[in-house]
Point group: C2
């Protein structure tokens, strides 16, 4: 239901928010997130404009989070790259529908619920090491520990 760019934006932010991340090149981000390069550039640009990602050019440059992962919610990321389009006015442009009709009210209510849910979860929570599997990582530390 989310646009592909929102999914890609979330992967990029999670990638940059990992404890071990530091500054990362577009190549590294693309590899880890599996986001096609033609999308990644635009997504990182949008995340930059929204003040979520900082970039530094030149040797040793790359991308990093511009804010702490604990202060970035899933909603911040979704809104930066695609925005959840709430239904504010009648999609049919009917003049008498200054209030939404029951159909579009129900649709908008669902969107509002998603907004609220995404607004409650931070990227830091998503990355919390107490939860497995870890986003973007194809290995569970729990499994590794058991295997030792």
């Amino acid at each position: 239901m989310l646009p592909k760019t929102a999914e890609y934006g979330l992967r990029a932010i999670v990638c940059l928010g990992r404890e071990t991340a530091g500054r990362q090149s577009a190549d590294e981000i693309a590899k880890l997130t599996q986001v096609p390069r033609r999308y990644l550039h635009k997504v990182l640009q949008d995340l930059g404009k929204a003040g979520l990602v900082a970039s530094q050019s030149g040797p040793g440059g790359g991308y990093s989070l511009a804010r702490a992962a604990a202060s970035i919610t899933i909603l911040d990321v979704v809104n930066a790259v695609g925005r959840i389009e709430r239904v504010r006015v009648c999609p049919l442009g009917l003049r008498s529908h200054s209030d939404l009709c029951p159909l579009h009210r129900e649709v908008d209510k669902a969107y509002a619920m998603v907004e609220a849910a995404f607004g409650r979860v931070t990227i830091a929570q998503v990355l919390s090491a107490s939860q497995f599997p870890l986003p973007l990582c194809d290995a569970s530390p729990l499994i590794e520990a058991v295997g030792e």
Copy 2:
């Protein structure tokens, strides 16, 4: 957030579910719902396949609801034309993510909420005459009554 076809499917079903509807031609539905004809044909076909809309060809033919509006939920319509894609498996295809990671769990939780919300509301409820403005109608009976 819903695909355009879902919005169009909902309009078509609401159009056919109105008390005064009877059997309606594609032209009538297109006019009232403002759904472009190139979409409407496909939408009506999908609604037919899902058993929500019946069609009769020939003179006097047209489209009608195949079931009572009280037995059709918003979710039935959305699923007939586009389906809410729940996140069942890791979108990155990571082997160790047999359970979803916290990021994709949160995304899927939001989708599940929308599914549940849409599953609770029937087309009959949306068309309930006690609620204004009425879907697809550019006149509120309340306003008309005051104007008399």
